[in-house]
Amino acid sequence: MERVPVLKIGDILLVSIQIDMEDQVALQLQEDLAERIVATGVHGVIIDISALDIVDSFVGRTLATIAAVSRVLDAETVVVGMRPAVAITLVELGLSLPGIRTALNVELGIALLGKRDVGDEPADDEDEDDPAAVTTS
């Protein structure tokens, strides 16, 4: 079974999903990330999905679970790089990815993680000033 690599950069774990994941690979990633968060003590996780040409309900649910588990382990997750067609399809599918913070690319995702107190609920007024930050809740 293939495995998605998890890279540590400073206080962030970076995951770039470059393969069409079978369900078991997505579940493995979820476990790997939880373990790496605890082992490294990072406070941020960035998941780059710019190479994914679809996100179905299984992958969507996995992303939501990763975000929730990370939060419990004192790390904030940002999903970055979603393609426009994927966003349209996800919304039509009925998946709004509640609780997942998103940014348009890795750079904006890192900026988003850097400027807030990790673990806190996002402040609404802060988001309004920042076109790069899209929050669903």
Binding site: D53, I54, D56, S57, F58, G60, R83, A85, T89, L93
Partner: protein, 134 residues
């Protein structure tokens, strides 16, 4: 009306990936728009997973179709599983018996142009979807 039917078994996780890839290839060949390709591949992924998880495995058939005005793709997902007891309920957003999000069937239906379910308890389920070029 039919041409170029392709069949794939759906028995493992990896088969679901193969279904996605086949549907993508055919969607590109019939020149669906990028958004429609994405919708169809996503719907196929949901339905192929249902065939695997709820139907206990089965088969997918992908066919290029035409009518007088345009081309499209028809995909048939068939299993010999337990069937769906309450179809109305199964098509409700958020309803699941399998621990998922309950968006597979209802969501997939929204992503295609034609959607038909033929199910019989104890016999199996066949779902046929069609996506037409605009």
């Amino acid at each position: 009306m039919n041409e170029e039917s392709q069949r794939l078994p759906v028995v493992t996780d990896q088969d679901v990936v193969r279904v996605r890839q086949l549907v993508r290839t055919v969607a590109v060949a019939v020149k669906l728009s990028l958004v429609d390709q994405t919708k169809l591949v996503t719907a196929a992924s949901e339905l192929a997973r249902n065939t695997l998880v709820y139907g206990g495995g089965g088969e997918v058939e992908v066919t290029r179709v035409h009518n007088e005005r345009r081309g499209g793709i028809r995909i048939v997902f068939a299993d010999q599983g337990p069937g769906i007891v309450d179809l109305q309920l199964a098509l409700t957003d958020g309803y699941t018996t399998g621990g998922g999000l309950g968006l597979g069937l209802s969501g997939a239906r929204r992503l295609v142009d034609e959607f038909e379910i033929d199910t019989e308890v104890g016999k199996g389920t066949t779902i046929t979807v069609v996506k037409w070029c605009r």
